[in-house]
């Protein structure tokens, strides 16, 4: 009886070949760099360049990859199921398949290494700038491939033309949407959490009240204004516990400075200053609210696109997956997204929300400029308003000089 072939053998050899090729490429690249060092030293455009430590880079990601993937994959290998229809239904659960799906993560890490090295070792230049743009696009492409790998098993029945049960369809849909969200995050960044949104709303309410008392409550936070952008950024990234940190900061500062905060407005002298700060904070909160609404809309549109892509993928009959079909699927993905977003960009909702975003951003800047102007009044540093006045004066002077020069020329003629 013929011994049953281990289904992992093929995969292992493919992995080995791929890594071997990749390793050879890196070595060859390194050799070329080192071989060219005299030329690099004499070439002024490359002065200061030192080749990245390719070997270290390779082992860094190899180590990461190994730690992340192999222990689990190796442990589960004896249980690895052959490629049967039954197995395909559970494809997404296979360790190797999971590992393959995580190729995207590994690959992104590698690209990030590239960028890191490029930033650290290379001088600024058009080539590096554009290469980083390519990297970013390829990362998204990899997200799509990764997404496709994860979803492929779930689509088997559909793509084979067999009607899926309601439960299967629901599962496919849910899985699809869940995974699509990570693609969206690569594209547009992470959406602020509902926690952040509610905090923003509460904060807006505080600022809106704008009474002396409300202001006295807000003022201490402003005294630590420099910490706020960082905190908000972390909140927007969805970091847990930051809301509490903000609250803590708020309370601490309030307690530390309450007396001053309560007294200052009543003195009158600080009233204008406080009002300007109030406006700036209000503007900051409003801007973040507008930003949240804007990105929510982008996400929602992405999910609309996801449904359409799912439909198109389901219609896409694949007898055999080839590099061409992968690219065709990718082409469908970006075209459907482009069409969907194009429709969204034409809607009144998009125009309203983006108008809000731009206007809120502009108002925030305006109020910050006004605040800065007020603060700089006590120094010899010119504010934006002062500079604008100078620019206007120079502009008018230039016009006068031109007019005078023309008058002189005309008189000479």
């Amino acid at each position: 009886m013929k011994e049953k072939e281990d289904p992992t053998t093929g995969l292992m050899s493919q992995w080995a070949t791929m890594h071997e090729n990749f390793w050879k490429e890196w070595l060859a690249l390194g050799e070329r760099f080192w071989a060219n060092i005299p030329a690099l030293q004499t070439d002024k455009t490359l002065s200061g360049f030192s080749p990245p430590d390719i070997t270290k880079m390779y082992f860094d990601w190899w180590e990461k990859w190994g730690k992340a993937m192999y222990p689990q994959a190796l442990t589960d290998m004896p249980m690895f199921k052959p490629f049967t229809m039954e197995g395909m239904q559970r494809w997404g659960e296979w360790p190797w398949f999971k590992a393959l799906g995580d190729l995207g993560i590994w690959y992104r890490e590698m690209l990030e290494k590239f960028e890191e090295e490029a930033r650290g070792e290379m001088q600024e230049g058009l080539g590096v700038t554009v290469f980083n743009r390519i990297n970013r696009a390829v990362k998204i492409y990899m997200e799509v491939l990764d997404f496709w790998i994860r979803i492929m098993g779930l689509l088997q029945d559909v793509s084979a033309g067999k009607p899926a049960s309601a439960e299967e369809t629901k599962k496919i849909y849910e899985e699809w949407m869940k995974n699509y969200r990570s693609v969206m995050e690569s594209l547009w960044g992470q959406i602020p959490s509902s926690d952040v949104r509610s905090t923003m709303k509460a904060f807006t309410g505080t600022s809106l009240a704008a009474s002396d008392f409300a202001w006295s409550f807000a003022e201490p936070v402003i005294s630590n204004l420099s910490q706020l952008p960082g905190i908000f950024q972390r909140m927007i990234k969805g970091e847990k516990g930051v809301t509490a940190e903000l609250g803590g900061l708020f309370i601490k500062n309030y307690e530390d400075t309450m007396g001053r905060a309560l007294l200052a407005p009543s003195l009158g002298y600080f009233r204008e200053f406080n009002e300007r700060i109030n406006k700036a904070v209000y503007g900051y909160v409003q801007f973040n609210n507008a930003k949240t609404a804007f990105f929510s809309m982008l996400y929602r549109s992405g999910l609309q696109a996801a449904e359409r892509v799912l439909q198109r993928f389901a219609e896409f009959k694949i007898d055999e997956l080839t590099p061409e079909t992968i690219r065709e699927l990718y082409r469908i993905w970006w075209n459907v997204n482009e069409e969907t977003y194009h429709e969204v960009f034409r809607t009144e909702e998009f125009r309203d929300i983006s108008q809000q975003l731009v206007e809120r951003g502009l108002l925030l800047r305006k109020w910050c400029d006004e605040l800065a102007h007020h603060m700089l009044k006590f120094t010899s540093i010119p504010s934006k308003q002062d500079m604008d006045e100078i620019y206007k004066a120079i502009y008018d002077l230039r016009k006068d000089v031109r007019a005078l020069r023309k008058a002189v020329t005309d008189l000479r003629v």
């Binding site: 289904p7 493919q14 791929m18 090729n21 490429e25 890196w26 690249l29 455009t45 490629f83 395909m88 393959l100 190729l103 690959y107 590239f114 290379m122 001088q123 600024e124 230049g125 058009l126 080539g127 590096v128 554009v130 290469f131 743009r133 390519i134 990297n135 970013r136 696009a137 390829v138 990899m142 491939l145 790998i149 492929m152 098993g153 055999e320 997956l321 080839t322 590099p323 992968i326 970006w334 075209n335 482009e338 977003y341 194009h342 960009f345 034409r346 125009r351 309203d352 108008q355 731009v358 206007e359 502009l362 108002l363 305006k366 500079m387 604008d388 620019y391 120079i394 502009y395 031109r402």
Partner: protein, 377 residues
């Protein structure tokens, strides 16, 4: 199929790796690429605005020089981006003497520079300079994109100085068609933008342009390049385009305010209500021959915005040509490259035989020989 899927995915990822490695090696060395391949002579300068002169390189020399007026939004070297993709070079080879306006990069000090300053100031001074230098009472003008709109306005205000007007992808009716820029424009607040920011950053303008086709321009364009990363020629061409696309000067604040408010939002030019420096811009005063070219697939300036020019102006000699290309394709597509320069050169030479050689005197002979036609596609 599953086994095959794994193989194919691994191959695809491996392919990307190989290509990116090649690209890494090729691209990290490139600090910059040449912008503008044809050597020109700087002949005039006023503030940040420069004028370059290019001598014709052969063929029947057109007696009237051509002044090229590009948009403020991007740089004029798109017309001269590569040896084999240079409209300038092709025009020079066909006997057209060129003067090219370089608007430069507005600094903060330029935030109060108005559209009047650009058209009735800088551009008018340049036209007078070229007229003096060339000895032509009237010169030919080629306006491109926003520069085309400027040229149309200029020709309406100073028809006595323009012999022939050529415009490419120039918007004149800003409310025609369904372009996204037209859809978005009413919701911009140019007053607040300029009051707060001053000059409008080029990066912001570029972001707006990228958002017109985000998936194509932010993702697919670069993914598509990966396959060609091992071709140094293709990489160089791509880098030149990238440099040009992202080389966006800021927009002088007051000019932006008027351009967006009165043209994009209120469509005053097409309505006959546009004024500049207190003077009404009457398009019917454009009576010189006009050649109007646009791209049928243009998503920035949809053809519907350019097409109506023939009906809005007073000229009886209007030639309208639509090319099956997009906005950028007008400069770099092989079809446009092959057809556009010969067409423009021929059209200009046919209509430029009357002014020379008298200096500052209008030559009255030969005008009747110019074929009068009003052709529309």
């Amino acid at each position: 199929m599953a086994d095959n899927t794994v193989n194919v995915m691994i191959k695809e990822i491996s392919r990307l790796q190989q290509k990116l490695l090649k690209g890494y090696e090729t691209m990290f060395r490139i600090k910059d690429v040449e912008s503008g391949v044809t050597p020109g002579e700087l002949v005039y300068r006023e503030d940040r605005v420069s004028l370059f002169h290019y001598k014709p390189a052969g063929g029947e020399v057109c007696p009237v020089p051509l002044l090229v007026v590009y948009a403020l939004v991007n740089r004029q070297y798109m017309m001269d981006i590569e040896d084999n993709l240079s409209l300038f070079r092709k025009l020079l080879e066909r006997g057209i003497e060129l003067y090219v306006v370089d608007w430069g990069y507005p600094g903060k000090i330029d935030r109060y520079v108005t559209m009047e300053d650009h058209i009735q100031g800088y551009l008018n001074n340049i036209v007078d300079f070229v007229r003096d230098r060339s000895g032509s009472d009237k010169i030919n003008m080629l306006g491109i994109c926003q520069g085309g709109t400027f040229s149309i306005i200029y020709s309406a205000l100073y028809p006595e100085k323009i012999k022939n007007l050529v415009v490419m992808v120039a918007p004149v009716d800003f409310h025609a068609g369904e372009g996204l820029l037209i859809t978005w424009a009413p919701f911009l607040n140019p007053e607040l933008m300029v009051d707060v920011i001053g000059n409008i950053p080029g990066e912001l303008m570029n972001l707006g342009f990228l958002w017109l086709k985000p998936f194509q321009l932010i993702i697919d364009k670069y993914v598509g390049l990966v396959d060609r990363l091992d071709d140094p020629g293709a990489v160089q061409s791509f880098l030149r385009m990238e440099k040009w696309i992202f080389d966006s000067p800021d927009q002088a604040g007051e000019t932006f305010r008027k351009f967006v408010k009165e043209l994009y939002q209120e469509n005053r030019l097409a309505k006959g209500e546009f004024t500049l420096g207190g003077e009404k811009v009457d398009l019917k005063k454009i009576t010189m021959p006009v050649l109007n070219m646009f791209g049928e697939l243009d998503h920035l300036v949809p053809p519907e915005c350019s097409k109506p020019l023939a009906d809005l102006i007073g000229s009886k000699d209007v030639t309208t040509i639509a090319y099956p290309v997009g906005h950028i394709g007008m400069y770099v597509s092989s079809k446009a490259q092959k057809e556009m320069a010969p067409t423009v050169a021929r059209w200009l030479i046919e209509r430029s035989q009357v002014t020379k050689p008298s200096k500052r005197k209008v030559a009255g002979t030969g005008a009747a020989a110019v074929k009068k036609k009003k052709a529309k596609k």
